[in-house]
Point group: C5
Chain length 320, copies 5
């Protein structure tokens, strides 16, 4: 548990006395989920507002989908962001809970939540305009969470481009369908995540207990627009994966086609030749050609002529 105190227009200070809340300015109480098993027992007497048991239960769920719910006394936002390692496989997520009271913001986050630390550091260093409302503190954290999400678009693109190129390269022998499909599953999870984020922000706008100032509205719409961009990117990615699948099927079908054609051409050439040797291999007594002086060479010539003619014919028709 860490408490930041935002007095008017100055850099925030870290409070060490956790048993009391300053009478002026804004307060941000940040819990690590492990140490927050009974955070409501600490918070309710200090703030003087009861917290719904359902909301407390939600705040303990480390994989809760993005979700907003509000009461007359406070707004609650669950926001599911990227895990600590920025890595793509498996896509890890961390859900942070935001409880926004009149002057107090309480956040509950995973021990390894990177965005929370980044945002706190940014504020402690006095970067950006000092917040004049609880929502602006929360916005700074959310903005950091969404920014980290937006940044995975580039590695994602690089990853899929390589995967698709390898899959569609005729020279390559890898046939790595499972990886591509695992990638599609991840992209769908991204879509689902950003859709839920959008829905939660939207529900927040419609259901908030505090009237947002014009400036707060601008910030939240900007946040939505950034999430929407991630969503559009994920949808695009998914359609490209579908296209790669379709293209691969097309090329396999085409390849099979070529092979069957080759087989047919081979048969069409060798079947008649073999028949001719079969004919002159028969043991009839009276077979005039067998006694011709150049019968054998005539037969060889016949084989070469027929084979050559058929080859020429098939070549001209573009069969191989």
């Amino acid at each position: 548990m860490e408490i930041l105190h935002f007095a008017t227009d100055t850099t925030p200070t870290v409070l060490t006395d956790t048993g009391q809340i300053p009478e002026d300015g804004l307060i941000w109480v940040d819990f690590c989920r492990d140490e927050a098993q009974h955070w409501e027992c600490w918070a309710e007497p200090l703030i003087g507002v009861p917290i719904e048991p359902q909301h407390v239960a939600d705040s303990h769920n480390p994989t809760h989908p993005s979700f907003f719910d509000g009461t007359l006394d406070y707004d609650m936002l669950m926001f599911q962001g990227l895990g600590p390692r920025d890595r793509l496989f498996p896509l890890e997520t961390r859900t942070a809970a935001f409880f926004m009271f009149e002057r107090v913001l309480i956040t509950i986050h995973a021990a390894d939540n990177v965005s929370m630390s980044l945002a706190r550091k940014k504020m402690l260093e006095g970067r950006g305009k000092p917040p004049d409302s609880v929502l602006k503190i929360a916005h700074t954290v959310l903005d950091t969470m969404v920014d980290r999400f937006l940044k995975i678009r580039e590695p994602l693109d690089a990853y899929f481009t390589e995967l698709q190129d390898e899959l569609l390269d005729p020279a390559s022998k890898t046939d790595d369908w499972r990886t591509l499909l695992a990638g599609r599953r991840m992209v769908r999870k991204l879509e689902w995540l950003s859709e839920n984020q959008l829905e939660a922000i939207d529900a927040w706008r419609r259901g908030t207990r505090s009237d947002w100032s014009a400036n707060e509205e601008v910030r939240m719409r900007d946040l939505s627009e950034h999430v929407d961009r991630l969503l559009d990117h994920a949808r695009d990615q998914e359609r490209d994966i579908e296209s790669a699948v379709q293209l691969h099927f097309s090329s396999v079908t085409h390849h099979t086609n070529k092979i069957v054609q080759t087989l047919t051409v081979l048969s069409a050439i060798f079947f008649p030749l073999t028949l001719i040797t079969g004919i002159y291999g028969m043991n009839f007594e009276n077979m005039p050609e067998l006694h011709w002086r150049y019968g054998y060479f005539f037969a060889l010539g016949l084989l070469v002529s027929i084979g050559g003619a058929l080859l020429y014919l098939f070549k001209r028709r573009g069969f191989f």
Copy 2:
């Protein structure tokens, strides 16, 4: 029929006199559907409110989809939950009917409805805050029903993961399409169930005759969110099944391709060799090679050379 009486702020008591209703507190009358053939004849005089014939007819339907309807005097909710055995195949459902009057909740459930018993037991043991409205009693039952539903996500995942792994394992010879498709049908039924639950809760919120308190609103949104999670899970599951189908088709097509290639390579190697033996099996009188001392060995050498050269060629081209 079992009647529970909730006096203010105490554990409920079971009423044995069914001919009368206490003048204070909340009452929950719980009917088993088998014994509830004329429950409205019992209820109307005691509560003093007429019940719509359409609603009575609905309450007797054990497979009625989730549905809300309200009048000026009471709210009716049909809620379709999981059957008693938690088993996946066939997916059994039980629909419970909730009639919510001013101070009285009447429920009609199947004889083997597990959730109803669990919720009643929980209340009789005094777990949780005592309800101060009929809606909160109903919410406790609904919450139990939805929780049981959410718990089937894990066995469902395990089941489909195993099924897909087996189907896609090249070593395995099972080709168990029917089971997978039966599973998809079940997942679709789950989707349909949770969509209808969401619609019913939503219609309830919009159409309820009683104004919900802030705390009741929070509970119902929490309930909706839990159902929505089940819905999202089922949709995800369905898309994964589609992917498995696609992957299987891909691998079958690929396999056919490989086999046809092998056939073509075999033909391309043996056709010319057989032609050569055919040529030297012809019976022409004048065939010089036949009289060469090492003609036979020359022919054998020819066969080995050509066969080997073709093998080498195809190997280098990666044909097998």
Copy 3:
């Protein structure tokens, strides 16, 4: 033309004098479409309300889709129901027109409309509570129409289950795609019908000139819910048919695969054997093996060994 008179709280009576309308109670005038070519000329002076020409034109269309339209003086509902024979192929429909005035209901139906007769009979026999509004008379007819629709779900299920089982049975030789696709077309028509019914009831609720009583609202929502169940069933049915199509394609592809594999195995076994007989069928003078005492048996042994070894190899690899 048949006129029923509903005096307060009694069984209706059939009026024989068609030139006049009783001053009290409700009146239901039921026209057969054949005899109703100028029904508006009869109705307008008696009721004292002009009827829109567009509505009259609609009422003469025996296959008009379900549709609601209202004016300040009356509500018009076109409702497309099941034809007289309950049979599935071809799916026959009958559209009935309902004109609902203050005290008068005018219906125009096909000569063989079963639902209309059933509803009239039910009312004349005094079953059900006597209607106290024109809408309740109409509801009784609509309820009968929808009930007949709901009952075709069972034969529909039976029909498609049999069709699919036959199609997917490997033993069966029928390949009855056309019937299945005709069935899908029928299911789509069912979907279209129930969607239009839902839309029409919904438009009626929003656009009716009379304020519906609470009891009338309950009845109409119940009606909607029944139609919605038919719609959900039809959608489910359609998806099952798609699944059957997919499954059949899968099994055909799999079967082709097996056959091509067999062909390849045959070639792989017989090509080398035939080559060996070709070699010992060559006519070279100097072929030592030919003069061995047991050369022939050695060759036979060679054929059997190679053939057996290949068979064993392919068997072990699971090729047949």
Copy 4:
């Protein structure tokens, strides 16, 4: 340019003086698009209302999609209808522009717009009730346009039924995919046209400057319903075409399957027979069977037995 004057309750008269507008009744000014290059210069002073340049530009576009736009002074409707020839390929369209002022309707149409002439003729002959508002004149034209559209449903059905039957007939050798796909493109254009018509009528209802009378509302809803029927028909048609495509693919796949099976059966029968003749064609000195008296006939019998047994086996397994 042709001007019709509708005095109250009489048949309209054709005005010849185009420099002035009667002070009473309704006026319909009908421009042919070729002669209407500066129609607004003529109209603005006479009507006393400025016309938006964007609207004038739209009115000159002969292929403008259906579209409504309104100002405080007038309603503008672009309505895209069927071309003059009722023919299906290529589907020709004509867009007519309607400008509806207080008492004046201005229409701009293509030189060969059939519907406009039909509607004018109908009014001049005094058929139908005389219009008492500008909207009713416009409705008469629109109704004619939509009626002509509805009439192409029958030739469309006939056309596609024939095309599909031919394509799916196994005896027919045509493989006329391109025509079917061209047909699908046309059906999609129909869908697009009727969707836009619906949207335009809907935008008109929501955005009109004049309050529509109850009777006008009825007429416009009737118009919408007719367009909606065309839309539903086109969607149905499109799905049927998809089905035909699927069915064709199924039958081609099935056919290939049968052919490959035949090839396999041929190989399975002839490979062993050819091997036997190869064996007895070998030139070993010591081959006892060759010296048997009936060795040859024994060999022939062997060939016939094996061939017959294999044939019987394959026949019994249903392989051909």
Copy 5:
């Protein structure tokens, strides 16, 4: 940076003094994005309105999707248009930012933004009615941007028609799937662009701080309708590409079918002929036919008869 001053009803003049703003008329300040790194520092004191940091950040993003956001003091519109070269591959876009204050329009555009120059030139030359509001200046630019977009419909059509014709031409040997799929990706980007443009215009209409005049409403609806036409065209294009893909698959499958058929016919003809030569190539002592005078010619006749009969049979069955 270029400043245009629009005094009432005259052609605009270019201002050279950038440190001050005229007290009357409208002002358009046009920044090139490269030189606009701190445009807000210049603008805020002159206009007297603070600009949101999020909006400034957006205005620097050269590939920001179309987006509207408004405050009480100004409207901000990001509009993504076509790049400078009108070329299709790769589809280049340029996003222009519009900040609309009471009397001042600030635009930030890419250095090579063509539309902006075209619009400025048009206004400086006094073409069109002089604008009487900031929105009308912006509309002139947006209209130019959308017009350039609409013009790529024709080259797009030509491009895809050629590509599809080549792909589907059986004579052509190109199999240019990648190009077609790249085209589809571009068409999807077009769809996405115009969808976002429509959404942005729509959000503008709903969220603008200034009440739009009737004439401004007409202009913006006209703009929307033009974008919607592009969107419809792109959707159409995409569906046509899907059709071409499907048609190609169909023709490949059909072609494979034909080849396999040919192979089967070849086998069916040559297998029995080869068997006959094998039979008469056996070395039995007692083979009567071998000693017939015309045995050889009888055998040749047999070969020809059987071969001819089979050929005739297959020809009649339409197998080749």
